[in-house]
Symmetry: C2
Subunit: 408 residues, 2 copies
């Protein structure tokens, strides 16, 4: 129940235990095509260039940044948490000229502030995290695509921690590149990064295309100018491998592909909007529950991600001791945070397979016991009762008959 | 039965279906420590710095090259197949000054030739593939470590296609960096790259260490000079994450770690030498079998990898048609090759879970049928009888009682 990785959906794990097939077996290439189509629906995009990058979420981030950016290119990163700093650092390592604007941790940016900075910096790329789990904030993106286009910039969004559990509309919002991971709202393990690129982003790759030396007729031909600085993360090559050419690059991580495919199948069978609403419901229940336990919540709750809440550690309570007791005695993991919030908040997630009523109520019940044992003043039942009220109100709104024994 | 990925050991797939645990759960960190210890035994090294890189084999290659090489550093790559060209290309993208020597496809290098080039180029890094599946050649490495040390160079070996099925002795041979994959002799899926670094290699990383902006007290402090050009592949950071500091970097790909751990457990339970001997036996049986079918074998057989054989496609036979028929009608995949060998050879593997008598005999039996249907002249039973003779001779040498019904 931390900020991710969360427990995987058992169906995903079963899909990952299937025997491998060869990388050019028609079964495998059909799975690849199917996975592309599934993730187009998950990202809500028509982008042909929708693939998996074989690595954890930050592999997807780095693949996009190193493929789009050349040394000296200007990048603007609005930073509102740890993962904004990560975008900035990766862009710097690409040799880009990186400009940042910063929002206080626990807040998000108004679009006007981003627009002012875009006008001033004139970046080739505006790179932003949608949900930064370090602060739990969810940056509204709907206006940023328009701003980027008006100023001839590309917009990249890191949706690792939000996709599938918070609204994201790649095409409607004008996002040119987006990358995710499986280990948050998608209910899978880390190790595969779904990635989508708009035709505008692909045009940048096309201007930097190259074919690997060992696959060319003349391996000693000079390298193209402006070649991408990484082979593994050269998204032009990755697209040539996933596309009809099937030009050999890496050996697709078969088991991770089975997992990524199953994550998307399960999500789309539930329905994207239904899954987002489910994350909203259980996130609200968890929020009410921790408040019901008398705990203060960090940050601008109106802009909180649905799937994680940052809870201030009460004075006099040993935050790490509480985390240890929850894990050792109740088998429940919650997170701490980074930088200015390290040791100041716990982060409790409700995402993917863990965005469930029983997971929320068990966590609140256990947290109450552990807090009391740690010397905090907590009302008996305050967490679960508050959460149950959220569920009851939801059921009343949706005309759900309460099961026998449920709190009214 | 291609050159890899091969079928995974079912035990590995079962291990990968275990539920996830949090990345700092003591269970997970103990698994990480255990995986490091297991791969030290697999690489035959005492290197503390033995970890997994989260990505396919070429992720491990790129991590080593980008972490050890700075722009302008001199690298020497002896190229004897497609994957030598890959090392060269990745090193070029790192900005290194890359020098190559080339051996004709189907041959390997004499150590004297490498030594002459090292003396001339004076590289910081000598980078070589052990087994290049494109040609099936196995480059002897035992002398190269000595040569590298005598000329103050580091030696990197890409052992993706050989580890676990061919002899490799990292410390005895003086190899400073080695990377592998799971999908060849280790019997797992691609997507995780076991990587080991000698203290000499770690000293290079230490001179380039940095801590990620979002984890530092002062995220705006200037970046260290000589910082590694990739964040994801910054092996200094990867070591800080795997080491006792547990400094957050990527989120370890839990399921792939379960798989990598199980691959090593199975291999070491069998015994490294026993596994190498098993690959030798089944490789010899497959070699004898294809020769028994009247097919010519490509390359210097004395230096062939144990786990793959390149078979020349007979004149007048449609190579792709044979591959398609084997897959569609018999469920058996074999490979083609790259560059000068594309369309000229088939590559047949006997590796990992597929280095088994039944897999060898079924493949030979099916190949005979498909070749005959394709119009090739093949003697009835020539493949399986020749392979059975190899098995019988092996059993006689090892005093194995023939099971009832076995060919004498």
């Amino acid at each position: 129940m931390g900020p991710g990785p969360a427990s995987a959906d058992p169906r995903v794990l079963r899909a990952m235990s299937a025997q491998l097939v060869g990388q050019y077996d028609p079964v495998m290439t059909a799975y690849m095509d199917e996975t592309m189509a599934l993730y187009r629906r998950v990202f809500r995009t028509r982008n042909e260039a929708t693939v998996l990058v074989d690595g954890t979420s930050r592999a997807g981030i780095e693949a996009v940044l190193v493929s789009l950016l050349e040394p000296g290119d200007r990048v603007l990163v609005p930073v509102f948490g740890r993962f904004g700093h990560l975008l900035r650092e990766i862009a710097e390592r690409c040799g880009a000229e990186v400009h940042t604007i910063e929002a206080e941790w626990g807040t998000v940016f108004e679009p006007e502030r981003v627009e002012e900075a875009v006008r001033r910096v004139r970046p080739k790329l505006l790179a932003v995290v949608q949900g930064d789990t370090s602060t739990t904030m969810n940056q509204p993106l709907a206006d940023l695509g328009r701003i980027a286009r008006e100023h001839d910039a590309l917009l990249y969004a890191d949706v690792t921690a939000t996709l599938g559990g918070n609204e994201f509309a790649m095409d409607d919002w004008g996002v040119d590149a987006a990358t995710a991971g499986l280990q948050k709202c998608l209910g899978g393990p880390s190790g595969s990064s779904p990635t989508s690129l708009s035709p505008r982003a692909v045009a940048v790759l096309d201007s930097r295309r190259s074919v690997e030396a060992g696959l060319r007729a003349d391996p000693d031909a000079p390298a193209p100018r402006r070649r991408i600085a990484s082979n593994y993360f050269d998204l032009g090559m990755v697209l040539d491998y996933w596309g009809p050419q099937r030009l050999n690059h890496h050996t697709e991580a078969t088991t991770m592909l089975y997992g990524a495919r199953e994550c998307a199948r399960i999500l789309l069978a539930e329905g994207l909007e239904v899954a987002v609403a489910r994350h909203r419901l259980h996130g609200e229940a968890m929020l009410a529950g921790v408040q019901g336990l008398g705990l203060a919540v960090f940050g601008d709750v109106a802009h909180k991600m649905a799937n994680v809440v940052a809870v201030e550690i009460p004075d006099g309570v040993d935050g790490e001791g509480v985390r240890r007791a929850l894990l050792a005695d109740y088998g429940i993991e919650i997170g701490t945070s980074f930088g200015p919030l390290a040791g100041r908040v716990w982060r409790i997630g409700t995402m993917g397979h863990n965005a469930r009523k029983d997971a929320v109520l068990l966590t609140l019940a256990a947290l109450e016991q552990v807090l009391r044992a740690a010397g905090a003043r907590v009302g008996a039942g305050g967490g679960t009762v508050a959460a149950q009220e959220v569920y009851a109100a939801h059921d009343a709104r949706h005309d759900v008959a309460a099961p026998a024994g449920a709190v009214a």
